[in-house]
């Protein structure tokens, strides 16, 4: 059984069909790429998977259950978490606190014991802090733990978003253009982080990326969208030589 299955997923905004009859399967342990030109409908796919939008027709199936239209917080609960293309950190909070918000999803103590600051709530908070510190070092941000997240550089903010999503302990992690705005060195670093997430933390990764070279070097399976249509699917080599893909990217070097 596929971990995530997109089944004829379609969404229309008024007259615009942003995503049309998209089908793909993501298996557990995949490093899966979703690519396509700007406005192809990639982020919209993420929004449907994470419950921000409900598909007009078709189903999003996670671990055999239809999750289309489930509210975003429930989606995080069942084990899908994401980063945002237009970075959405909790600006006034420190890097560590941002990650702790993610880790908070798996908390055990009641809100009441938080208001009372019960010993268990204190212990739990310390545990979440420790877990979050570890995740910060996974994305090489341990030194920035107490920096205000809105003051951090663009590349660091992107990595912080990954750590925050990881903290929710997802089975499937969705990365929306994680390399956008990064320099080549940062991109190499990011590639190592993504590999580590998959290999060491055993997460399944679905990532959107505009930088073709980055995706080709990183992902094992790729789906290409163009104007909401799925125009190709397969391994990097198949995709690279696919005439439809070359046409969609208007001769950009692939």
């Amino acid at each position: 059984m596929a971990l995530l299955r997109m089944e004829d997923v379609t969404i229309k905004f008024g007259g615009l069909t942003a995503v049309n009859q998209v089908n793909f399967d993501i298996e557990k342990g995949d490093l899966f790429g979703l690519i396509g030109p700007n406005g192809a409908g990639k982020t919209t796919c993420f929004n449907m998977i994470t419950g921000v939008y409900t598909p007009t027709s078709g189903k999003v199936i996670f671990e055999g259950n239809d999750i289309s239209g489930t509210p975003p917080n429930k989606i995080a609960q069942v084990g899908i978490c994401r980063t945002f293309q237009n970075i959405r950190l909790f600006g006034a909070l420190s890097a560590l606190e941002n990650v702790m918000v993610g880790a908070y999803l798996r908390h055990q103590t009641s809100l009441f014991s938080g208001f009372m600051l019960s010993p268990r709530a204190i212990r739990e908070t310390a545990e979440l802090r420790k877990k979050s510190m570890e995740l910060l070092s996974v994305v090489n941000l341990a030194d920035e733990a107490s920096s205000r997240s809105s003051d951090m550089s663009y590349g660091k903010q992107r990595r912080l978003e990954i750590a925050r999503a990881m903290a929710t302990d997802p089975k499937l992690i969705l990365l929306d253009e994680p390399a956008a705005g990064m320099n080549p060195q940062e991109k190499d670093e990011l590639r190592a982080v993504v590999h580590r997430i998959r290999d060491e933390f055993e997460k399944t990764v679905l990532l959107i990326e505009h930088d073709m070279k980055f995706v080709m070097n990183l992902c094992e399976k790729i789906v290409v969208l163009d104007h909401g249509e799925e125009i190709a699917a397969g391994g990097p080599d198949e995709i690279r030589s696919n005439p439809k893909v070359i046409e969609a990217y208007l001769g950009e070097p692939v």
């Binding site: 959405r88 950190l89 600006g91 918000v101 908070y104 208001f115 009372m116 600051l117 268990r120």
Partner: protein, 397 residues
């Protein structure tokens, strides 16, 4: 963990808090006059009101400007139930006070739930309008209830000013909010304030978080209302006007949204402005008032100019800033006095009491222009913070 166990662990600090409050009441009632006592009493109430609104506005980021409504619900629920359940005059035991505080806070909590629910769909200005409307609706309904005294107000059978309870309420309110921020649970509230979409994507239940903030905030305001009602033994709808909501909001914004310390300090000082002006005897002429207003403008701009362009020695900069504050007043006061003599503007005089809102507005304006994030920003007082400040000073010296 059961409530009993938690309370057991906290027994010492709870006992200490109760002890301090009772002691404070004993000392104060012995040593100061009625007017000052009332100031202490009101100070405690305003601290509670500001800190509880800070939970909704500052910590959870829900722009609520109808806090006086919850305060009023608490006051009326307590007053009505107190007369209903304890009709006999002159009870010695203030047990009835505890009962009515409980009833007042439960009633306000229900009101908080009712107002909190629409907040799930509304943001920013829209929510502000709803909460403002709520405060006004509650007031107008009460105005038209004959049984509640309508616009004449409502007399309570019992009158009891419990300083100890007011202090205790303020302490509990501060402690609850501070506890929340010290535990990971507080992060959920802050996350909702910072970015709702991201918070929800991290699994935070927006509905639950916002409603809890509203209910807890309203509960404390309701308890404060109950104590307020029993203080004077008389309540009327005019005591809970929109201006009161604005005053509480001003305290939160001025203190720095989200900072408990800021709310406490702003509440403890700001409530004094209207209270002291109420009894102040001075009068201000139109000329001087105009002069002062112009001086405020000049002062703010000079301060900003100095801050922006002058990076010299520290003492020099301080002197310049002092000049920026004092000079405009001296000049404008002189101009104002002249205008007073040569009555170009007419010779209208304002009583101190009429200037309450003018002065409050000026304070707010000045602080917002000079420190847009409030006095404390998002920061809190803590012993560590104080220690690090002291150390830095020691190192510099």
């Amino acid at each position: 963990m059961s409530l009993g166990k938690i309370l057991g662990k906290r027994a010492l600090s709870i006992l200490a808090a109760v002890g301090v409050c009772v002691l404070a009441q004993m000392v104060l009632t012995q040593s100061v006059d009625g007017f000052l006592l009332r100031l202490f009493f009101l100070g405690g109430l305003y601290v509670t009101l500001a800190v509880s609104l800070n939970l909704i506005n500052g910590i959870t980021g829900q722009f609520s400007i109808g806090h006086a409504g919850f305060y009023m619900v608490g006051a009326y629920a307590a007053g009505l139930s107190s007369n209903y359940f304890f009709p006999r005059q002159s009870l010695d035991m203030p047990a009835y006070l505890l009962v009515s505080v409980l009833i007042g806070s439960v009633a306000a909590a229900i009101a908080g739930l009712i107002v909190g629910l629409p907040s799930l769909r509304l943001k920013g200005d829209y929510l502000a309008v709803v909460t403002l409307g709520f405060g006004e609706i509650i007031r107008i309904i009460t105005l038209n209830q004959e049984a509640w005294g309508g616009s004449y107000g409502y007399n309570l059978n019992h009158k009891h000013q419990s300083l100890a309870l007011v202090f205790l309420l303020a302490i509990v309110c501060i402690a609850v909010c501070r506890n929340l921020l010290k535990s990971a649970h507080g992060l959920a509230f802050l996350a909702v304030r910072e970015d709702e979409v991201a918070a929800q994507a991290m699994g935070i239940n927006l509905t639950k978080t916002k409603v809890v903030a509203f209910v807890v905030g309203a509960t404390f305001a309701g308890a404060a209302g109950a104590l307020f009602a029993h203080d004077s033994g008389f309540i009327n709808p005019d005591l809970f006007k929109m201006e009161l909501s604005f005053l509480i909001l001003t305290m939160v914004v001025l203190g720095g949204t989200g900072s408990i310390t800021g709310s406490v300090l702003a509440a403890a000082t700001l409530f004094l402005i209207p209270e002291l002006l109420r009894i102040a005897k001075f009068e201000v002429s139109q000329g001087v008032l105009l002069g002062v207003l112009v001086a405020v403008g000049v002062m703010v701009y000079t301060i900003r100019l100095v801050e922006r362009t002058f990076h010299g020695e520290k003492t020099q900069k301080s002197l310049l800033l002092l000049g920026a504050v004092v000079m405009p007043y001296v000049v404008m006061f002189g101009v104002g006095k002249l205008l007073e003599t040569y009555t170009i503007l007419g010779d209208k005089f304002y009583k101190a009491n009429d200037l309450r809102w003018v002065i409050l507005a000026i304070v707010l304006l000045v602080v917002m222009l000079i420190r847009p994030s409030g006095l404390f920003g998002h920061h809190e007082f803590s012993w560590d913070w104080l220690r690090s400040k002291m150390n830095r000073r020691a190192v510099e010296a």
